[in-house]
């Protein structure tokens, strides 16, 4: 390595309340390189990046940027040094225009001291066009899709002359085509000599986009290697510290009685336009069966699950029967009483109450069983929760810790514990493995197999096709609210699913 790297972090140590989050971690990023940082949740990736972004100060170690030692005390120090962060939760101001967002905090001024809107518009238009995302920069940021908003973030970073951009799971909210466009932009950035530190849990992405990979585990540096010299099995072994023989355990499908039958279900879109989010969907789910739902963004898969759970009130049309008995579910409470559970696709905004403790989150949907009528007794609550916390091996310092302090995988387990506690017979799982590490993923697959073996039925949505193919007994494909294909396990391929998901 003759060339001095753009960024060199060495011997980074950080502990919180006496718990080591990082121990002697190093990372070096070359100019114009896409460098993936991978590891299980809780491995220390986020802490390392927060140190790089100036949000957290390090205990020990050095940061060298362009050959100069740096001390970041606050995010603005990092920003001034040319480091930009693009988080999962975007940091745009939704009602402000795209141009205002790009120049937020460093608005150009006219000679009279007023904000120079013309210059702002011109520059931001140029930046976005360069990123291949031309758009009307005078419209508010919230008017655009997440994908475009991400481009606005990138433009904001470039506008600040950042030459090191950290992207933390940027594709977790993107559809495949949008992700593809993001990769295109990342390649362009690389061409411009900008370096990108890329954090993702998706193996295909890591292999598709990165030049080198650094793996962290339990706060320690495990290794750095060019992506071409690191086969996937090896990478997973580095991440979890053991070989995962089979990421997707097989389950023997032995479908039993019919649990759920949906006929001609229609759901209107929330915007009141009268369009249908789900348009005449029909399906059946038997005991012991995992039925996968596939579709691109806007296909209506999530809305279908939400409607079954009573999330949108009365459905526009169609009928639902549980175990052959027709039901009309208009509220989540009724769905729970009918043995339906919905794990939503975003645990932070709809899955968990982040300000409450692990225990209180886990029992939230089962409080009627946690004490005498109307009351909650701590002992009963603990007794209720303990078996599920053990079964899912939720790792937390205490059940009284705020759930927000847990890693993504453990948060997801708490959300799952909440639903298993309601003793459902039908589980609606919307992206159950989004944003969690490979170890926790394997545990959740294992759990799904255990559940169907107990005679429960699962409707599964996942945007990761290998996962969908491996876990589902049958796959239903949706396009614009309509079912366009039903594929059996042995006839389903990625190509056939994509074809059905995109055609009309």
């Amino acid at each position: 390595m003759a060339e001095e790297p753009l960024l060199r972090m060495e011997g980074i140590c950080k502990s919180f309340h006496g718990v080591h989050a990082l121990r002697g971690v190093r990372l070096d990023v070359r100019r114009g390189e896409v460098h993936s940082l991978v590891g299980e949740n809780g491995a220390g990736k986020s802490t390392l990046m927060r140190i790089l972004g100036g949000a957290v100060t390090l205990d020990e170690g050095t940061i060298t940027l362009r050959g100069r030692g740096q001390v970041f005390r606050a995010p603005k120090d990092a920003e001034a040094a040319g480091v930009a962060m693009i988080h999962q939760e975007l940091s745009l101001v939704p009602p402000m225009s795209v141009a205002e967002n790009v120049f937020l905090g460093r608005e150009p001024r006219t000679r009279l001291g007023f904000v120079d809107y013309a210059a702002m518009r011109e520059h931001s238009e140029a930046l976005l066009a360069e990123l291949g995302t031309p758009c009307d920069v005078t419209r508010p940021a919230e008017a655009y899709s997440i994908a475009t908003q991400q481009m606005v973030e990138v433009a904001k970073a470039l506008g600040r002359e950042a030459d090191l951009i950290v992207m933390d799971e940027p594709t977790s909210a993107l559809a495949e085509a949008e992700a593809e466009r993001l990769f295109e932009v990342i390649r362009r950035l690389r061409g411009r000599g900008v370096s990108v530190v890329y954090i993702s849990h998706k193996m295909e992405e890591i292999y598709a986009i990165s030049d080198r990979v650094t793996v962290l585990r339990d706060g320690e540096w495990i290794g750095t290697a060019p992506v071409g010299e690191l086969p996937q099995e090896r990478l997973i072994e580095w991440m979890v510290g053991r070989k995962i023989e089979q990421l997707f355990p097989k389950h023997a499908a032995e479908p039993g009685a019919e649990l759920l039958r949906v006929d001609g279900l229609c759901v209107d879109t929330a915007d009141g336009s009268g369009r249908r989010a789900v348009d005449g969907a029909s399906l059946t789910l038997r005991a012991g069966e995992i039925v996968g739902l596939a579709g691109l963004r806007g296909s209506g898969c999530s809305e279908l699950l939400g409607a079954l759970f009573g999330r949108y009130g009365r459905v526009a049309a169609g009928s639902v029967a549980i175990r052959g008995r027709p039901v009309s579910i208009t509220r989540p409470a009724e769905a729970i009483a009918n043995g339906i559970a919905l794990l939503t696709n975003d645990r932070k905004t709809t899955g968990l109450v982040l300000s409450m403790s692990v225990l209180h989150n886990a029992t939230l949907a089962s409080l009627s069983r946690a004490g005498p009528p109307g009351c909650v007794l701590r002992d009963r609550e603990l007794a209720l929760a303990q078996p599920f916390m053990d079964m899912l091996s939720v790792r937390t310092a205490s059940v009284d810790a705020e759930v927000s302090a847990l890693s993504g995988g453990n948060q997801q387990k708490v959300a799952l514990a909440k639903w298993l506690m309601t003793e459902p017979s039908v589980l609606l799982l919307d992206e159950p493995t989004r944003g969690i590490d490979v170890g926790a993923k394997a545990e959740i697959y294992e759990l799904m197999n255990t559940l169907v073996a107990q005679g429960k039925g699962i409707l599964l949505i996942t945007s990761e096709l290998p996962e969908l193919l491996a876990m589902s007994d049958r796959i239903l494909v949706m396009h614009r609210g309509r079912m366009t294909a039903e594929l059996n396990r042995d006839e389903a391929t990625q190509e056939r699913i994509m074809a059905a998901a995109m055609e009309a």
Partner: protein, 419 residues
């Protein structure tokens, strides 16, 4: 879950100090209250014989008494704020209920029980309207309760014809003179008994509290605790029963010991807060309030009856405003349509100083009691303090009060940021 707590560090003076500091951090509110009390003893004025007035029982009794309405309002306000809402109408509703109670007792000759029920009911109805506007018609709490604040005040002025309701002001009044006033007017404001039970009764609850602290926070205490009860379900139940029993005895004795000195108004203040603290901690309704304030959509998707819980929170808040209105009427010996103006701000301040987040989802009613007492004692200090022989004027008092609020919130924020 004691067995899941991270292990404590070994013995030693530094770790002991650290634990004490951590404990002080966790109980920041009570510690602040103690600080206020110490300040009160130091600068809160002296009796003619030279003793600090903060060391006399009557000072404490008067703080509870003077702050009663604010405290009662704060009890309901905490429930609403826990859901992430706010109720600006409590002061006006207090005024409305005050004049209704006065009209019914003084004007129409109703018995005080029925009049009290009606006045409290009016408060509850105002809360119900707030709740329905907010949860069913999706008004923002600020807007809905702002409207109610104006409407209730208008109604209070309308029904009284812009006058104060006092004995014998009008020919149709049932009560013609002060001496004819129903006994509740005097009773609400005078101590329950002239002869107190000895303060030594207070020693018992103090001992129980010290013992509880020993078991919970010291290494030997915890070891003893584990040996006594074990971790079997039966042992846990036994321990829970014993600890609930001990707290009940401590509470009962405190109340019994203080009863002779306190006025019913002060009792309403303390018991409203204690009752709501219990409701919030042990009922499903209480848990639902936290869930709604923390993440309303996640709560709804977990089967929490969001609309019903919110309505109930506002109804209770209105009910407490009604109760506070009755107390005010008895205190003033008349029904004043202007009563309670700006009281909502003091109630909100007590909640916030206690450490309940205005964003909802975090806090507790017990903390509000502490917040209310901090405000009450601070007021007492400000009215007792003398500079160059002069008492402080209202302007200076308000300035100081504002600074206390800012300071209290800064301290709470510092804690959250570090956490």
């Amino acid at each position: 879950m004691d067995e899941l707590r991270p292990g404590t560090e070994g013995p030693g003076s530094s770790s002991l100090a650290r634990r004490a500091l951590a404990l002080a951090g966790e109980y920041r509110g009570p510690v602040a209250l103690v600080v206020v009390l110490v300040v009160g003893i130091l600068i809160g004025g002296r009796t003619p014989d030279g003793r600090p007035v903060f060391l006399t029982g009557s000072t404490h009794v008067s703080v509870f008494f003077e702050y009663a309405e604010y405290g009662i309002l704060a009890a309901g306000m905490t429930l609403v704020i826990l859901t992430g809402g706010i109720d600006l109408s409590v002061g006006s509703v207090l005024g409305l209920s005050s004049v209704i109670f006065a009209i019914l007792t003084l004007g129409c000759g109703w018995s005080s029980q029925w009049a009290a029920l009606a006045a409290a009911g009016v408060g509850a109805v105002c809360g119900l309207i707030n709740g329905i506007l907010i949860s069913r018609l999706r008004f923002q709490p600020f807007v809905a309760t702002l409207a109610m604040m104006v409407v209730a005040r208008g109604l209070a002025k309308q029904v009284t014809g812009h006058r104060k309701i006092a004995p014998a002001l009008d020919p149709w009044y049932h009560v013609r003179s002060l001496s004819e006033m129903p006994p509740i007017y005097k009773g609400m404001m005078s101590p329950l008994a002239k002869h107190g039970i000895a303060v030594t009764v207070l020693v018992v609850p103090a001992l129980i509290i010290v013992a509880a602290a020993f078991f919970r926070y010291t290494v030997t205490g915890r070891a003893l605790d584990a040996r006594l009860f074990g971790s079997s379900p039966a042992g846990r139940t036994a321990r829970a029963t014993l600890s609930i029993g001990a707290w009940a005895i401590a509470l009962g004795l405190t109340v019994w010991g203080l009863a002779p000195y306190l006025q019913p108004a002060s009792f309403l203040f303390v018991s409203s807060l204690l009752l709501m603290a219990l409701v919030v901690k042990v009922t499903r309704f209480g848990r639902h309030l936290y869930a709604i304030g923390g993440n309303e959509e996640a709560a709804r998707l977990s089967g929490v009856p969001v609309a019903r819980s919110k309505v109930l929170a506002y109804v209770l808040c209105g009910l407490f405003s009604g109760l506070a209105g009755i107390v005010t009427t008895c205190r003033l010996q008349l029904g004043n349509p202007e009563a309670g103006a700006t009281y909502e701000l003091d109630a909100i301040a007590a909640v916030v100083i206690g450490g309940t987040s205005l964003m909802g989802g975090r806090g507790s009613v017990a903390l509000t009691l502490v917040g209310a007492l901090i405000m009450g004692y601070a007021n007492k200090i400000l009215s007792n303090i003398q500079i160059h022989g002069q008492f402080l004027q209202d302007g200076a008092k308000l300035l100081a009060k504002g600074m206390i609020i800012v300071l209290a919130v800064l301290v709470q924020e510092a804690r959250r940021r570090r956490a």
